[in-house]
């Protein structure tokens, strides 16, 4: 589905991503783990078109998508969430979700003035979809709240909700679970599995919570210092010498038992 071929991303002299090569299977829920600063988010940004890579290629379904702008990738069904949640702060939560679907009739100046009733129908339908998504994420009571007022965890849920507003092919989740409580984290896990099974979304999940990764992801890819160290089931990864080495000091074992 996605092939990352020897991607480098340098910031000045610093090699944040340093020759990463990996591939993501269609229909999988792939985990991406690694110590802080391993280059996971930077790799996401390269894949999603936010940062142009210094060198290397990204292939999606056989097509070279390296350096395409984010909105073009979005149109191709590649979605991502942000590690630091983004939102349209002055709009309500519902409006935030309603912004997502493309090709709306209300997008053109002409229709704005001359297709009012059609647009109202569209909006009613979208609002209904948005409300369903919010209910699913257990934040339906916040529908009319300004998104800027949400808590950190709630903003994370809104990030996930955005990916549910359209039919995506592949979704990159950058620590959706960070700052979300345990119960809700399970809800998010269930949502991911359901979207994967029912709608056929492929997921790539960055997460530091190993229980969460273990429950959802196969395979798991481990990065450190901008390189891919290992790939396989979580258990195999944990047994990998290099991985243990990379996590030494940050304590993969500790995290797991915590």
């Amino acid at each position: 589905m996605i092939v990352v071929d020897d991607v480098h991303k340098h910031f000045g002299g610093f090699h944040a991503v340093d020759g990463a090569t990996l591939s993501i299977e269609k229909g999988s829920i792939t985990g991406l783990i690694g110590p802080n600063g391993a280059g996971k988010s930077t790799l996401f940004n390269v894949i999603a078109g936010v940062l142009p890579p210094t060198s290397g290629r990204v292939i999606m379904d056989g097509e070279d998508i390296t350096g395409l702008p984010p909105h073009t990738l979005f149109a191709k069904g590649l979605l991502r969430t942000f590690q630091i949640a983004h939102e349209f702060s002055s709009m309500t939560v519902r409006e935030n979700l309603m912004m997502v679907p493309p090709g709306q009739r209300g997008e053109t100046l002409w229709n704005t003035w001359f297709q009012r009733s059609r647009i109202r129908e569209d909006e009613a339908r979208l609002a209904a979809v948005a409300d369903e998504v919010l209910e699913f994420l257990t934040i339906d009571h916040l529908a009319d709240e300004r998104a800027g007022n949400l808590s950190g965890g709630q903003k994370k849920l809104l990030e996930l909700g955005r990916t549910m507003m359209v039919d995506a092919k592949i979704v990159f989740l950058d620590e959706v679970g960070a700052g979300v409580n345990r119960t809700l984290l399970n809800t998010i896990g269930d949502a991911i599995v359901r979207l994967n099974r029912e709608r056929g979304y492929t997921f790539v999940v960055i997460e530091h919570d190993m229980d969460f990764i273990g429950r959802l992801c196969d395979p798991v890819i481990c990065m450190a210092e901008g390189k891919v160290l290992a790939e396989g089931t979580l258990d195999a990864i944990k047994a990998n010498e290099e991985v243990i080495e990379a996590y030494l000091g940050t304590g993969l074992k500790n995290k797991e038992s915590a």
Binding site: A48, V50, P69, P70, H71, F74, L79, R80, F82, H86, E87, F88, S89, S90, M91, E95, M99, V100, P101, P102, G103, Q104, R105, G106, E107, T108, L109, T112, I119, E123, R162, V166
Partner: protein, 336 residues
């Protein structure tokens, strides 16, 4: 009685002109603030966009006049305004296509775009002077006064008169309609919300069904329309001279920054703050104070803080103060 006479004098020489001028600045600042919010640069060509749109309106007005078309008591320019708007839209869209888009694709830093816009400013300025010449033009052919000072005195029997020029009334009425339409558009329509989304968080806006090129094009269309309306109203109220519109950049930027760059509400508030400050600081208060103060306090000089020659210094001073103490402006726009 003295109090009322003083009040009328105040309204006549301060409130009425400042309100009209404030509405013109507000419309101009709205254009600047929208370019800043969505395209993320300070558009130095805005004053000359106003001049160009106004020039096109004036040429059309002359054409209509030569055909004998008139709006009766209203200035013919109102009829010509849509043509001026279309001309300005064509100009800015063409500019975006051949100039700004190139730099946008290169993802240049904003200051580059600012400098590019200065280049554009000189080109627009040249076009305008080429088409209409550098001279002062008066193109208001409507009735001059809604209420004249003499009429007012006769009706009320007061010593002081209150004159409201038609151009001032038209300015205010048009500004209210335009602003209401703009806010409806930004808050209620999908396109308007896309624009707000783009201004709020571009990274996120790119990750949804918003077409950035369309948002940019619609922004330019609205900005050109606002600029032409602002320029034409200013020209009707005062007169038209290309150089004046370049000078207007300072109070317009001051208004946008005082209100908070990127904030439409702020641009409107900023327009009135600047206009009132400018008029009040350069007005000679002797007469008003003469009515309002007890006799022994009556001032014997003009009580004028600054000569009108220095009116632009007022915008400049306010600008500096705001940038020092509250760089995000009254309405918390993006900091500069």
């Amino acid at each position: 009685m003295d109090f009322i006479n003083g009040l009328i004098t105040f309204l006549n020489f301060v409130a009425v002109p400042a309100t009209a001028y404030g509405a013109q600045l507000a419309l101009g600042a709205l254009g600047v603030t929208m370019v800043y919010g969505i395209l993320r640069f300070s558009n130095f060509a805005h004053g000359d966009t106003m001049a160009f749109g106004t020039m096109a309106t004036i040429l059309t007005t002359w054409g209509l006049q030569s055909l004998g078309v008139s709006l009766g008591p209203l200035p013919t320019a109102l009829l010509a305004l849509p043509v001026g708007i279309v001309a300005a839209i064509a100009l800015v869209l063409a500019t975006d296509r051949v100039v700004y888009r190139f730099y946008r694709r290169q993802r240049v830093v904003p200051v580059m775009l600012v400098i590019v816009s200065m280049g554009v400013m000189f080109v627009y300025n040249g076009l305008t002077r080429f088409a209409i010449g550098p001279d002062d033009r008066n193109f208001d052919d409507g009735t001059r006064f809604l209420i004249s000072a003499g009429e007012f005195r006769r009706w009320t029997g007061l010593d002081e008169g209150l004159a409201i020029r038609s151009s001032q009334a038209i300015t205010l009425a048009t500004a209210i309609v335009v602003v209401a339409a703009l806010f409806w558009f930004l808050n209620r329509t999908r396109t308007g919300k896309s624009m707000r989304a783009f201004s709020d968080n571009e990274d996120l806006a790119l990750l949804s069904g918003i077409s950035p090129e369309r948002v940019v094009a619609i922004t330019w269309i609205i900005v050109a329309a606002l600029a032409t309306v602002a320029g034409t109203l200013y020209g009707l109220d005062k007169s038209f001279q290309p150089f004046t519109y370049f000078q207007l950049l300072l109070p317009i930027f001051a208004a946008a920054i005082v209100g908070g760059l990127g904030s439409p509400l702020g641009a409107i508030a900023g327009g009135f703050v600047i206009a009132y400050s400018e008029v009040m600081i350069t007005y000679a208060w002797k007469k008003v104070l003469g009515y309002w103060l007890p006799e022994r306090f009556e001032p014997d000089n003009l009580v004028q803080l600054l000569s009108t020659d220095y009116k632009f210094a007022v915008s400049f001073a306010i600008l500096v103060i705001v940038l020092l103490f509250r760089p995000t402006g009254l309405f918390r726009g993006k900091s500069v």
